[in-house]
């Protein structure tokens, strides 16, 4: 029983990160109708920036802020320099361009930092606190929960309560009308990319210390898991992404705890296929009329 509790808490902590990462995917999907396959690579790039800054200054928190800033900047640059110019007539085109970006970013990281695993620091201990001899949750897990909760809350506040959030939603929902009403649609799109990339960078900062370490490919499997989470919740739904992330985190935690950690990639694939075949719109999709 205590093992079950431990795995549940561990899964929720993993799931919180997947939720944040899935939220980043959903943000871009809602703003630009693009699934950003380069999200993982962009987030790793931001994490490497944090690594360099932390190594130079000796402070985890300066690195953390640097990663956030790098994430925001990278998102805006990617939108302005690359994605803005892609022909969206076929849905394949943005995906292929994003994959080109993945190769480029991973290659540049490989050239600068090499492809060995680098240890990533944590601000709090990852040793579990024990209550009555039960290993429950580590301070680092609590830090993850708190950070993700703040991010989710902040995003909800921005989109629901602020004028900028309203403009962003309008620009995504009805670009032409918004433009006529004086909304800077292109700017809102860039802002959306920057926000999403910043959230992705944050998720990478949270998840990389719990995996093998910093590596140009560190986020490949995390990306697949987060994509699964976004699909579970429905690509269009931010609350769905959060719930999907927690579900995927729990499933992966149980699979690796009870069946062996080697099986987690397979579990992701099976879960993704099952959701897409049974309920392609995700668990939170509204009942859609026939799409043509």
């Amino acid at each position: 029983m205590d093992r079950f509790v431990f795995l549940t808490l561990d899964g929720l902590s993993r799931g919180a990160v997947y939720a944040a990462f899935a939220l980043a995917l959903v943000l871009i999907w809602r703003a630009a109708r693009v699934v950003n396959f380069a999200q993982g690579a962009m987030a790793v790039a931001a994490a490497y920036v944090a690594y360099s800054v932390s190594a130079a200054t000796g402070s985890y928190w300066l690195g953390f802020l640097a990663a956030l800033g790098a994430g925001l900047l990278l998102g805006a640059v990617v939108d302005r320099v690359v994605m803005r110019h892609v022909d969206h007539a076929s849905p394949l085109n943005p995906v292929i361009v994003a994959l080109g970006l993945v190769l480029l970013i991973q290659a540049v990281l490989g050239m600068v930092y090499g492809s060995e695993f680098r240890p990533a620091g944590t601000p709090f201990s990852r040793g579990a606190l024990t209550v009555d001899g039960f290993a429950l949750v580590s301070p680092y897990d609590l830090f993850v929960f708190a950070t993700v909760a703040v991010v989710v809350g902040a995003l909800a506040w921005i989109f629901a309560r602020t004028a900028v959030g309203l403009r962003m939603r309008a620009a995504a929902f009805a670009p032409e009308v918004s433009r006529l009403l004086g909304v800077n649609v292109g700017g809102m799109l860039t802002l959306g990319w920057a926000l999403a990339s910043g959230v992705g960078a944050l998720a990478a900062m949270l998840v990389i210390p719990t995996e093998l370490g910093l590596h140009p490919h560190a986020m490949d499997l995390v990306f697949v898991s987060a994509f699964t989470a976004a699909v579970v919740g429905g690509l269009d739904s931010p609350p769905g992404a959060v719930v999907g992330g927690l579900v995927v985190g729990l499933v992966l935690s149980y699979v690796s705890g009870y069946a062996g950690s080697d099986l987690t990639p397979l579990a992701v694939l099976v879960l993704l296929l099952a959701v897409l075949l049974v309920r392609p719109g995700g668990l939170f999709a509204p009942v859609a009329a026939r799409r043509v």
Partner: protein, 369 residues
């Protein structure tokens, strides 16, 4: 999925669909046979003219060509994006390794065993491709890309999970027969490898070229351009998509099997996600939906790492920096080229060549008649 988009210019569709009507029956097969025969003779000549290492590189091109040709049919002509072809190649490669290993352990020998292994590899990949394809037929755009991406990430990991069969990270060795003695005792092994790989690739290309010009090819394109219209025209959309995926998987399996034969070993590292991305890039840069473009792509896949090696040798760097640069320069070049091609020249190399050819022909209408 209604728009053709930049992935394939609409002009291609009409001209390709109109062509068989003009030609007499059977002309397509004869033409393709002629092209393949000429290509085979050229490869035969090259295999004697080139040094062994170049022979080996050309054989690798042929192995990649199988996979890129299948992928270009699937993505360019049927509009299904697959990021999982590296995993399908891995399926073929591991099947060949297991078959050859089993034959070798049981003391079997003979020239026919390799074709049998490759055949089994194709069957195994067809089975895997059918499973993925059935799922893929229900998925569109980014969802399909996500699932195939998961396949590409997961399949190499399976070799570690079931390391009793696949021997984990080390992989398996592939025992291959030496060239037959009838060819002479000093016959270079690389030339023999080139013959095997080229035979497989040309056969696959011949079949694909005929398929593309057949009723099935037209159905592939119809489904890509407009599913609803295709359905109204009496085309079974899901079945067409599954057929396209299975055909593409079969060639990827053949390519993977040939790659295993060439390297004489298989390991999960050779079939990572990067390989899948490389294949996609090769077909996009070569020109999506064109078999000739797939050939350009396959050549690039082999030539670019070679070129970057030559470039890094010119620079004076510390050994570790040189190693990093050499390993990553082709990736960076590929990534940039992919984005530039996709944004600026969606037809790729073959599209540019075709445009150039048309421009030259248009300038001299008299010579043409």
């Amino acid at each position: 999925m209604s728009a053709t988009g930049a992935a394939a210019p609409p002009r291609d569709t009409t001209s390709a669909a109109a062509r068989p009507a003009v030609r007499r029956r059977g002309g397509t097969l004869v033409r393709h046979l002629a092209v393949v025969t000429v290509a085979a003779l050229v490869v035969l000549g090259l295999s004697y003219a080139l040094e062994p290492f170049r022979n080996f590189q050309l054989a690798t091109v042929a192995a990649y060509l199988c996979a890129t040709a299948g992928l270009t049919v699937l993505t360019g002509l049927n509009g299904q994006l697959s990021l999982g072809h590296g995993a399908l190649m891995a399926t073929g490669a591991y099947t060949v390794a297991l078959c050859q290993g089993a034959f070798y352990d049981n003391g079997l020998a003979g020239g026919l065993l390799l074709p049998v292994s490759l055949g089994v590899a194709i069957l195994a990949t067809v089975a895997v491709g059918a499973v993925v394809g059935v799922a893929a037929a229900r998925l569109r755009g980014p969802y399909l890309a996500g699932v195939t991406l998961a396949v590409a990430v997961v399949v190499p990991a399976l070799t570690v999970t079931f390391d009793g069969v696949f021997n984990g990270e080390q992989g398996l060795s592939v025992p291959v027969e030496p060239p037959p003695l009838a060819l002479g005792p000093t016959f270079p092994y690389e030339r023999w490898q080139l013959w095997i790989a080229a035979a497989g690739a040309l056969l696959a290309l011949l079949l694909l070229a005929n398929l593309v010009r057949s009723r099935y090819g037209r159905e592939f394109r119809a489904v890509r351009d407009d599913e609803v219209a295709a359905r109204l025209a009496g085309i079974h959309v899901a079945r067409t998509q599954v057929i396209a995926f299975v055909v593409s998987a079969a060639t990827a399996g053949l390519g993977g099997g040939l790659l295993a034969v060439l390297a004489q070993s298989v390991s999960p590292g050779a079939f990572s996600l990067t390989l899948s991305l490389f294949l996609l890039m090769a077909v996009v840069i070569g020109g999506l939906g064109r078999l000739a473009g797939a050939a350009w792509g396959a050549v690039l896949l082999v030539a670019l790492p070679d070129l970057s090696h030559a470039v890094t040798e010119q620079l004076t760097l510390s050994p570790s920096a040189a190693q990093r640069l050499e390993g990553n320069l082709p990736l960076a070049i590929f990534g940039v080229t992919l984005m530039v091609v996709m944004i600026a020249a969606p037809g790729g190399v073959q599209g540019a060549l075709a445009r150039l050819g048309r421009a030259l022909l248009a300038r001299r209408p008299l010579r043409r008649s």
